[in-house]
Subunit: 133 residues, 6 copies
């Protein structure tokens, strides 16, 4: 159970409804999920985070599915249960198969392993890897 | 300076040289970088980790560049300086532009932010996000 | 369910009861919560951690509520469910409103984002930020 | 050395200069620090992150110094060298003494310790700590 | 509920059964636990991770119980619920008492605390601690 | 360079000298390292942390070297440069060989990998792993 009360559409203030409407229109869904209903307990956070998500997760030079998979890799690293479920759901809607999920998690998990070997041994960066400007 | 002495090719035991040779052949490079020279202080680790990296980072249903970008997102999350430099170098060789790097880091950083909002508020997972088998 | 059996007051050894008594007297509560009952499975840890918490979380140059909010920000970062619930409860008793909680989590989440941008890009520290002694 | 080239004011595009100007005006400084010069390699990120920082770190129900101290606690937890130096500098300008810094870090470090005891033992949340709505 | 369907022995492909058989033979158990049944949704990951675990966790210069305790300390640090339960179970079978578990978690938790003091204050490494080769 | 000025013995207040003397007597060294000189900027933290370290890291049911190795595994996970150097130095004095260090880091790194597979797939804990009291 969340630490604050979720805000349902019927009881929401106009500024919150406006964000909910934009989320539903952008995502073509009939409601908003618990993440947004919880953030709505503090409208400036709701509005700010939605604007960030909308901008950052939209297709750019990377397509939207690639961005979802990067998001999953980070959430697995940080152990965010909510984010794992919600973004795996979103990525599957965008075409991610179980094999693709397996590859995302395999890379994320391996990076977590090699990160600790590099940090644990305190390995010096090779001069060749430093960019030249 | 690393916590153990790095192993140069000229002084390496045959089992280490065999791994070095495979790394250079696979990557078409004239040497191996400090990460491998350090792991070579314990040959079973060198061989094991190389086999994992070779298998996991090869193109599969995800292409090799996408995997490098996932690796960068995780390394930024974990703050692995060595991995940031080495895998940004590798990703650029595979075609990553500065704009693509910016999008990788923007998604990774945003996920780090929203992970803490979801975890911080202890938001319950929506029933709709749980898979049905 | 915890990995060890919790120790209830009725069955506790004198050294454990003494710590429980001090916790209840300090906090003006009628019992101790699961955290302490679990640590009591190893009395030296119970005693040591309580002494640390008592000293560190007491009002100093920072008031006790500010310390609770810092504690919440760290627990959200590390994803400690138990700590989120127990310290949000404590902070609310000390006067934290939902808006204050929202600001704590907004700052914590933003720091998690910008930490990864600074670490991900490997940005050099400005000379002006280094202290002069 | 950062992974991308920093953008100096003299060479910056108008959209980047506009953000730099707003940073300098808001903070009453004669230049911008390396964090912003690096983010400027991707102007949408520069603009987006600055707007987030400006909104979140401004005084609200929590004063600006309290927010800086929360930011320091999170950055110490995540090991962000850049953020530690830049936000300790900012917090000192806002009145943080060495004793206050010591208390911030003591709370942050203790939370990191107790987070692992709670998570390591998998302690169940007390019913009394769950909010009632 | 896991994000992918677990693979039971009766329905498993021969390559998966071969790994399950090796796990049961190595561990002298009558079945495999959920971790392996989940990884089996992607057979190359199942096989690869099992080979890593089998090699790394076997007795070497460190005995198997010491390795299990190190594994517990890391899992407590990363907050892996599954790993805490499964490896505490394994360590107890190998002889770990509640007092030993308490010492493992006390050291892990203290390291999490002092890591943040060292990183938070940005303390320079003493020259005497750097190895000489 | 640390964020606060280190306190040298010659200039230390009596309460700080007393802690320094105890560190040197306990460890049979002729001085104290930078960690303690930095904490001494806030004497209550110096005294408190030293008492914790002295108690927790002393031989108990686990010997002191095993505790040092657990400490190294956690510090590699958290990326604490200072702690890696200082505790590897201490562990080597207590008899840790390069092969033992390699095994510590291999277990720590593998745990970091499997932690993310378990968390990433959200695997349910097997009923058999839950303790019965």
């Amino acid at each position: 159970m969340a630490l604050v009360k979720m805000v349902e559409y019927a009881e929401a203030a106009p500024e919150v409804r406006a964000v909910y409407d934009d989320i539903m229109a952008t995502r073509k869904t009939a409601g908003v999920n618990n993440f947004w209903k919880t953030l709505a307990s503090h409208p400036p956070t709701l509005s700010r985070i939605w604007n960030n998500v909308k901008q950052v997760m939209a297709a750019g030079t990377l397509d939207a599915l690639t961005k979802e998979m990067i998001y999953i890799a980070v959430s697995a690293t940080n152990n965010c249960e909510y984010c794992q479920y919600s973004h795996t759901f979103a990525a599957r809607k965008a075409g991610m198969t179980d094999t693709m999920l397996a590859e995302v998690l395999a890379v994320a998990a391996l990076a977590n392993e090699t990160n600790r070997l590099a940090n644990g041994y305190r390995i010096d960066v090779d001069a060749a890897f430093r960019p030249q400007f």
